[in-house]
Subunit: 409 residues, 2 copies
Amino acid sequence: MLKRSPLAPERFPKLPAVPGVRIAGIAAGLKESRRRDLLLAELAPGTTVAGAFTRSACASAPVVWCRKVLPKGKARGVVVDSGNANAFTGNAGDKTVDATARAAAKLLGCPKNEIYIASTGVIGVPVPPNHVARNLPKVAKKLAQRAWHDAARAIMTTDTFAKAAFRTARIGGEQVTLAGITKGSGMIAPDMATNLTFVFTDAKIPASVLQTLLAATVERSFNCITVDGDTSTSDTALLFATGKGARHKPIAAAGDRHLAKFKAALDELMVDLATQVVRDGEGAEKLVTIDISGAASATAARRIGLSIANSPLVKTAIAGGDPNWGRIVMAVGKAGEKADRDKLSIAMGGVQITRAGQRRRYSEKRIARHMAGRQVDIAVDVGVGRGKARIWTCDLTHGYITINADYRT
Amino acid sequence: MLKRSPLAPERFPKLPAVPGVRIAGIAAGLKESRRRDLLLAELAPGTTVAGAFTRSACASAPVVWCRKVLPKGKARGVVVDSGNANAFTGNAGDKTVDATARAAAKLLGCPKNEIYIASTGVIGVPVPPNHVARNLPKVAKKLAQRAWHDAARAIMTTDTFAKAAFRTARIGGEQVTLAGITKGSGMIAPDMATNLTFVFTDAKIPASVLQTLLAATVERSFNCITVDGDTSTSDTALLFATGKGARHKPIAAAGDRHLAKFKAALDELMVDLATQVVRDGEGAEKLVTIDISGAASATAARRIGLSIANSPLVKTAIAGGDPNWGRIVMAVGKAGEKADRDKLSIAMGGVQITRAGQRRRYSEKRIARHMAGRQVDIAVDVGVGRGKARIWTCDLTHGYITINADYRT
């Protein structure tokens, strides 16, 4: 059992009910550890759905399934199991997913293409067809409006704490609620939604609009975090809108001005969830926030930020509390984006180290003190344009090696 | 002082003299450790030169210099200092390089644009103008035909062993010699020649032809290795041809059939040097060879191979002796190249694990035995084309973290 991350929030948040959502998480015995491993969510009729998935060319069977049913835009159920990713399991893996969908559909009284499925865990181990399906009646008995903690725990793998967040927002004066859970601590890199994230709202939003909102918010949250630069075969983010209990006016387009506060709340929620994943980065001792400005474009800024965030040399320097900003220069240089040695400005913990390519007199002591803390802030101005991005990562420590050299055996 | 890598060759090779080359490596006191830190090579008049450099947008002052003088194609001297990379040092760094070139040119009696300079070490620390120049007379006294070991030691930083190799070849029946030294163990990733490599031959080859030969061989050697995916600001590979002692026919083009054996020897030499760098990868316990076949193109094969080689999850699994081939599937999937879950074949240590997307019955014991050794072989057939590549890397261990969390402090 892994020790709780030192960056974990003090406690699991008190998530409210989201009208139209019932959820459960149980220990079905899928994991050898006997910990919770199966999540079921029941969604009210009329629930719309949006999804974002891994860009891996070797996506898991559940991802292939979700992509196939997503165009319908309707959801009545979500099934998530942890322990086995059902990835690289060939046609047998597809059959297992089909059996799960069929069983859940029967249980919830809906067509099987309204069932969303995700799996997380080891890759390449065959999954028996009934692996999940036979446990559904058991988990269904536990469905409840506020079983968020059980649900969040059921989707954990090497996570050391359960992750959730909620927000409220107003759409045209009417309050709606957003609640989400997420999991992930390794194989985390931005390439679409990272790892498993499920967000539920009682707002009433058409699937096509929901899809636009999700795509935009994922770009600013889960696609801006990285733990180790490795992209999972199973990354899945799903956003469900039940439409229950919301009396707001009908929404027809993503650009609707009544959605402004909802979008802001969704962004906040997603960044909250995404940074919780970074806070649980395998072996993480420090949360690192990297602000890039002055890049040629927003995309360039993100790439430069990720180049820094993914550099093992930068990450180990941070682990060692070493203000080795030369490695940041290196990482900017290798990003493949426009940069100029003589225009680069770097600050750490608010202390300006270089400006326009020249090292300034700065207090190394102040920076060392900043780096000794749990949160490290890096700001880089590339000096060639107006592109901005904020990226989150963690340090690379002995803990990462220990966890990953022994995970499967 | 770091412990010698367990993957190091038993001894430093007995390099022969290369007519037209005299070399020296001394401890000039540039490094606090008092170890060797300054290399000088004197090249006979008429020596031609080819170069390959980092693609970093923040290249070091010496790299900027070498790029500037390379078009002339002539070389009479090489100066390399270790301890300070003279990177991100602004205009002052350029002035230091100029002073070094001027001093070396005076010493060797040649124009300053025939002096090649490289520096390796910490980034961002100002270098006084005379830092290197004032030590040149001292190192010049030690110039000798076979001081290869001193020279190889003088360019080391976190290297745990001195690296060199030699080959002989025939050009039109006449024997020529190639001898090279290299350094590097961290910040190693393929993006042009990786870290510092200097190869000398007594063949007589025009600079333009030499450049074509170097560019081609770097693609198959230094651009196929990675330790941590981090590209240095200082990567430099230089190939010098003195033309002394070689009585072979004049060479006019890179396609000359008389060059076939020379090219083969150069490739062998460069792969020998490049894999020595991987064998000295920071914290390396295992040398990993990754053969990719069946990719859409040779470039796609290289990218897939590097995606596997740079994956922290694959590298930590290898460190743990864990045949977690699911992580190889993940790395193939994230490479951004054409792949198909149902066509992928993976073997480790010659044992076929999957074929055409299906796990086969295989002896996990045999693979575990293979992975317990010092050399790990991975073969991946993507199954979508005919592209091939061979990539070398090392495992990611606690040693890497230890070395890099404490390097500068």
